[in-house]
Subunit: 299 residues, 2 copies
């Protein structure tokens, strides 16, 4: 699984930071989370083309998180996409898209499927699911978690040999969770497999004030991508505007037991984000501030 | 007068070209022509801030020419603009803006004045005017010409001395076009001034197939900024889609007697625009292909 940060600013772009967007790539699937103005160009810069298996998830209907959807839809239409496109987000997303179609006399030749999300699983891919969870921002603001299915436990070769199971198709069947019969005796997968191993979990908060929901969904996450609009000195402003500080993001990562934290949605006032980084590091060690076009591989 | 090219692609952005937009700066005034997605970020890259005396002119309601307006309006609002903003364009522009306000629950604290243009003078600035002219593209497609007022003719010092006009306030009055009295004799400005000198003229075509209107308005223009979406081999496509080839743009520049030609709105298929340039050069010598962030000073 690879996470590519396409835009890491908040509200307005800066010279170095585009408006919010990030993509998770997993075995040919593209999951685009938010798409601020300029996202399609950031994708070109990142060397990420728009593929057939693209799906788009919008966290909330603030313009800086969604205006770039228009350009993406138009480009997909111009470049002849035929495959249906699924777009997920709050209720107003459908209205926004209908208005675009109306204003620009735009009717894509592909099926454009717009789903209103609510908390829970919103998309089930091949070997993973995407869950939406409500966060604390404007009405209908969601974060998203990409959660891989648990993988079967490790195959215990020694035990398999002890049980007299010949190497070959029978091992494979057991690894795939199917019972087999050896010399008239039924052997169940759990006889030779260790406990199931959890898959990767990546959480993206969208915009939010500190909230229990983020901690709950991020339990043991491999990667928590948390908004961190402000530093400590603007905690009051963060609270008023329902955003988080870098330290609050780090506290959430610590409490959730996340393995790694990435801070994003950086206010344009921080030309150098070292202040945010140092305040977060006082709480949680494995933290970085996202940069545009930065990518993280997870295994 | 300075022209800054902010986006020079057509339809979709490329690594090197953003979507259509250019700005003309003149004595503190900013005239922004078209604003495709990403224009506000291109302005940051070009080192051009959004100033009080900004006005925006939209050529036609194709999404690649106007989507960036949304981000600009939101940023102006976020950054506390108080001064009214005038936006000029086709009738659907007002609807687009109303829908934006509605979808994003956005009410700027400044007065947003949206004017529907028709052929003729649409804005009169200090020492210049902006004229819209109909071009040949979709319904309600306009080009714009920025035309400086004629300047008074050169002051003939020798003649002024012959007429016995003392150097000082009387010279100044005559230079400003006011008659003066010397020894009981009325001296008119035309007695000491040469013929009025024309001001600068810059023409931007927006999107258009070759049309007489461009030639007429570009008569003796100092700079013609002409769309040149395709090369000769795609003249048929250009005709079908009501665009121009580089050669057609050059022919217009030649017939109009323009001094300089800039080709813009380059199809993403031309990674290297030398083909367009060479075909235009066969017709018109003083031609360049626009690049993003390129600027031209006119005096």
């Amino acid at each position: 699984m690879k996470v590519v940060f396409l835009g890491t600013s908040s509200s307005t772009p800066t010279k170095n930071r585009g408006l919010p967007s990030l993509m998770i790539l997993r075995e040919g699937e593209q999951l685009l989370f938010d798409c601020g103005e300029g996202t399609q160009r950031q994708m070109i810069r990142a060397g990420v083309g728009l593929r057939k298996r693209l799906r788009i998830f919008v966290s909330h209907m603030h313009a800086d998180h969604v205006l770039g959807l228009a350009g993406i839809l138009l480009t997909l239409s111009l470049t002849g996409r035929q495959h249906p496109l699924e777009v997920y987000g709050p209720s107003a997303l459908k209205t926004f898209i209908e208005q675009l179609k109306d204003t620009f006399n735009f009717e894509p030749q592909f099926d454009l499927l717009v789903y209103r999300v609510s908390s829970g699983v919103v998309y089930r891919g091949d070997g993973f699911r995407v869950e939406a969870f409500e966060v604390k921002h404007i009405a209908e603001s969601y974060g998203y978690a990409v959660i891989e299915d648990p993988k079967p436990g490790r195959f215990d070769v020694v035990k398999a040999k002890e049980l007299g199971i010949p190497k070959g198709p029978l091992w494979k069947a057991l690894q795939e969770g199917k019972p087999v019969v050896v010399c008239g005796q039924v052997i169940k997968p759990e006889d030779v497999l260790g406990p199931p191993r959890s898959g990767l979990k990546v959480v993206y908060t969208g915009d939010t004030a500190p909230t229990r929901a983020v901690i709950d969904v991020s339990r043991d996450a491999d990667l928590l991508i948390h908004e961190a609009t402000f530093d400590d000195s603007l905690e009051g402003l963060a609270s008023d505007e329902l955003h988080s500080t870098a330290r609050q993001a780090a506290k959430n990562a610590l409490e959730a037991g996340a393995k790694k934290l990435v801070l994003t949605h950086i206010s344009p006032r921080y030309e150098d984000p070292c202040l945010l980084l140092s305040q977060a590091k006082e709480v949680f060690e494995d933290v970085v501030v996202a940069e545009d076009l930065m990518s993280i591989e997870l295994r």
